[in-house]
């Protein structure tokens, strides 16, 4: 696709021109982290936390996500705050809205820049066929099945002890279920869930157990944004 060429395109109106200027700056800052600048279609980001993880977006996808980023950024300061996310109307009626928004912000911070935005969204890129047979000794891409599931796991596990306790499960259940369910019923549902998944008998769901519960589910398809194909 790639209809819009960021660099060198003449800006039409003054707004578009400053957009193009901002985009050039963003791309320049992206370029600084390029691992292999010779690939003209794909950019690679390197991240330093938790080992090197590699995400890949094509040029047109980056451009499109950047325009979405700028349209959300009402303050025009290059970062998004939580209010910017809350302004999205459909997110307001999503039961998990708050947790999803929190997933974008790094630990303890209130602003997320474009790189962080992309990094979170990179988990939801579909797994392409030519990547599946890629070398196993390279760094694991962010959109692998394991990393997708880990992202979802972290949304359950608020205290970050690598286990979904009964309380955490209850909180999520309460968010997802209507007002007609009593606490006892919800409790028994949570108990049943834990009991089905628990294998080491600690009355909590670890990441490995979580993965096992979802082994029959096509997570790659379920957790991929379709248009990023």
């Amino acid at each position: 696709m790639g209809r819009r060429r960021g660099r060198g395109s003449p800006g039409g109106t003054p707004a578009a021109q400053s957009d193009a200027g901002l985009r050039r700056d963003a791309e320049r800052s992206l370029e600084m982290t390029l691992v292999n600048p010779n690939m003209n279609k794909l950019f690679r980001f390197g991240q330093s936390c938790k080992g090197r993880r590699v995400i890949r977006f094509s040029h047109s996808q980056i451009t499109r996500l950047y325009s979405r980023f700028t349209s959300l950024d009402k303050g025009e300061n290059g970062t998004l705050s939580r209010e910017d996310f809350q302004r999205i109307p459909e997110l307001a009626i999503n039961p998990l809205g708050d947790r999803i928004i929190n997933a974008f912000f790094p630990e303890g911070e209130d602003q997320v820049n474009f790189r962080g935005f992309m990094r979170t969204l990179a988990h939801f890129r579909p797994i392409e066929d030519n990547e599946k047979s890629k070398d196993q000794n390279g760094p694991e891409p962010l959109n692998s099945r394991s990393n997708k599931l880990h992202f979802a796991f972290r949304l359950y596990d608020l205290d970050k002890d690598d286990k979904i306790s009964r309380d955490e499960l209850l909180q999520v259940l309460r968010m997802m279920v209507g007002v007609n369910i009593s606490d006892e019923q919800l409790g028994s549902i949570a108990d049943r869930t834990i009991q089905e998944a628990d294998q080491d008998g600690d009355s909590a769901i670890s990441f490995a157990e979580f993965v096992k519960v979802l082994e029959k589910v096509d997570v790659e398809q379920k957790m991929s944004i379709r248009f990023l194909h």
């Binding site: 999503n94 589910v217 379709r226």
Partner: protein, 571 residues
């Protein structure tokens, strides 16, 4: 007794009252609506009435006048559909919808026409004199899927949003194709010789009819939006005017109304007062409801009488070919569609699309508009049988068949409770991520349109140029004012999240029984049922449009209100 003076309005109103009484009686029986769709009942009532009139007067009852149908009865229904059509799913699937509407209808027309011509060649049926052109003409009017019938039946079966919008959108948009082909073949019938130039002119005419309809609709839509900038009163008249204007120019009136309604909705809703807004909505619902009822009753009444010539082979083959060609068309087209989209249309969906292709009153009116030639009564009879067959047989059996298919798929693997919860969790997560990443912005033209809208249109057409609020935000504001207080007072939201200490106490009490309880299959079934009923659905799994309820009153919106209130409390 001055009956002549009030005869016409008196009879019409009497029929409307009769229809509403029939509907009330129908709904009193709880089991009946789930088996028989309402449209069947109305046709049945019409049949009885027609029979009574025929018996009393010993002449054919009044046939539904095509003019009345096209000018008075059809526009309210289409307007209602176009106004409440959710535009996001519609435009997301516009390519598929157009493909089905245009290519699918053309495929059906030629398929049915040619195969019926083949049947006519068989000497035993005494149908030699029905020419190819007549068959094609008949094919063009019988192939079109009817939005009125589709709407009436699809309310009963609960399909997801995407499927609903596909079938419904297709039934609305194939009007353009039908109009062109019908008029084309009719003019060919009257011409002595047909040159290929005429055929090309026909193809060109199709684009003119479709795009012209859209243009007329948009012009009137913008006029309506502009007018509401200066007044808070109701504007319903512009869409109807656009329909009439389009019909005047031999363009597609249905497409014009839809374009008008969809174009003006955004600006009109932002401009007019809340009261006028509610009035407009209820007014349209009422009008379309009345229209719908009248159409089906008239259909029933007009069936009785001496307008028919019964040639059973022709009629049977018509029904068979309608089914076969529709199924083939859907299969082939879906094959192409699925190659370009990640989100495939499953075979269950394909079955619903194919089987849900109901014919209705539009075919009926078109057949009466045919020029009088000696085989007209045969066509009338065939059309009547096809309509009755599709509405009664297909309408009544589609729900059991859908349930059967769904049950079959479910038996393959019964998900555990944990799976169900986690899957729903992932669905909500993905819906949220898609909303954040702005999935609709994927389309280049949609982005352009939004840009054009925010720079120019909003300044001209909106009263106060501020950030346009979506209906969700409007809903939230309305909630904050009234409902949140009411609901909280009524105790519906009394469930504060339980404290961990309380939970621990509960657990201590039932620890001994816990293991056996949760292994109990009855408890499991109970849990499954609770979850199925109460888990919030993700946005797109419900039907897109419902005839009888306003958009603000459906179940997903009730859930949305609950979610909003809960989050508001926790913020």
């Amino acid at each position: 007794l001055d009956y002549q003076h009030v005869q016409v309005p008196f009879e019409i109103t009497l029929w409307i009252m009769l229809a509403s009484l029939a509907k009330i009686g129908f709904h009193l029986y709880n089991k009946l609506p789930s088996v028989v769709p309402e449209s069947c009942l109305l046709i049945f009532v019409g049949l009885i009435m027609g029979g009574i009139i025929y018996g009393l007067n010993d002449k054919s009852p009044p046939v539904m006048d095509s003019d009345i149908f096209f000018l008075y009865l059809l526009p309210p229904i289409v307007l209602d559909a176009g106004y409440f059509m959710p535009s996001r799913p519609f435009f997301e699937n516009i390519g598929t919808i157009l493909l089905y509407a245009v290519v699918g209808t053309i495929w059906n027309v030629f398929g049915i026409g040619f195969s019926l011509y083949g049947i006519c060649q068989v000497k035993a049926f005494h149908l030699q004199d029905v020419s190819l052109l007549h068959n094609l003409l008949f094919g063009s009017l019988i192939a079109a899927v009817d939005p009125v019938a589709v709407l009436a039946v699809f309310e009963e079966i609960h399909v997801n949003e995407k499927l609903h919008i596909l079938v419904f959108g297709e039934s609305l948009l194939n009007d353009a194709v039908t109009v062109v082909l019908y008029k084309l073949f009719r003019s060919f019938c009257e011409m002595p010789a047909i040159k290929s130039v005429d055929v090309f002119a026909g193809v060109g005419k199709f684009f003119v009819v479709g795009l012209g309809g859209v243009l007329v609709g948009l012009i009137f839509g913008m006029t309506a939006a502009f007018t509401t900038r200066f007044t808070k009163d109701i504007r319903v008249i512009e869409p109807y005017l656009s329909y009439l204007t389009a019909e005047m120019f031999h363009l597609s009136g249905i497409v014009a109304i839809i374009a008008c309604a969809m174009g003006m909705k955004r600006y009109v809703e932002a401009n007019i007062s809340l009261k006028s807004h509610t009035t407009v909505k209820y007014f349209m619902k009422m009008w379309s409801s009345v229209s719908d009822t009248l159409i089906f009753i008239f259909l029933g009444v007009s069936t009785i009488g001496e307008n028919h010539e019964w040639n059973w082979p022709y009629i049977c083959f018509t029904v068979i070919f309608c089914l076969i060609w529709r199924a083939l068309g859907v299969l082939v087209l879906t094959f192409f569609v699925n190659r370009f989209h990640v989100n495939t249309i499953t075979s269950k969906d394909q079955f619903i699309i194919a089987y849900g292709g109901l014919r209705g009153a539009i075919c009926f009116s078109l057949v009466f508009l045919l020029p009088d030639f000696h085989r007209k009564k045969l066509f009338i009879a065939a059309t009547t049988v096809v309509i009755l067959f599709t509405v009664f047989v297909q309408g009544m059996t589609i729900r059991p068949l859908v349930d059967l298919l769904a049950v079959k798929r479910k038996r393959e693997s019964a998900p555990t409770v944990g799976e169900q919860i986690h899957i729903r969790f992932l669905d909500h997560l993905l819906a949220g991520i898609e909303d954040i990443s702005g999935h609709w912005g994927q389309y280049y033209w949609k982005d352009k349109l939004e840009y054009f809208n925010s720079k120019y249109l909003q300044k001209i057409l909106l009263r106060e140029y501020d950030q346009p609020k979506s209906s969700i935000v409007l809903l939230y504001e309305k909630l904050e004012r009234k409902h949140a207080i009411e609901l909280a007072e009524a105790g519906q939201l009394g469930h504060a999240p339980s404290h961990p200490s309380l939970l621990n106490d509960d657990r201590i009490v039932i620890t001994d029984k816990k293991l056996e309880d949760t292994l109990n299959p009855d408890v499991l079934e109970n849990i499954q049922e609770i979850l199925a009923r109460n888990l919030y659905r993700i946005r797109r799994t419900g039907p897109a449009y419902n005839r009888h309820t306003l958009p603000g009153e459906t179940e997903p919106v009730e859930h949305a209100k609950e979610i909003l209130i809960l989050r508001h409390k926790s913020l």
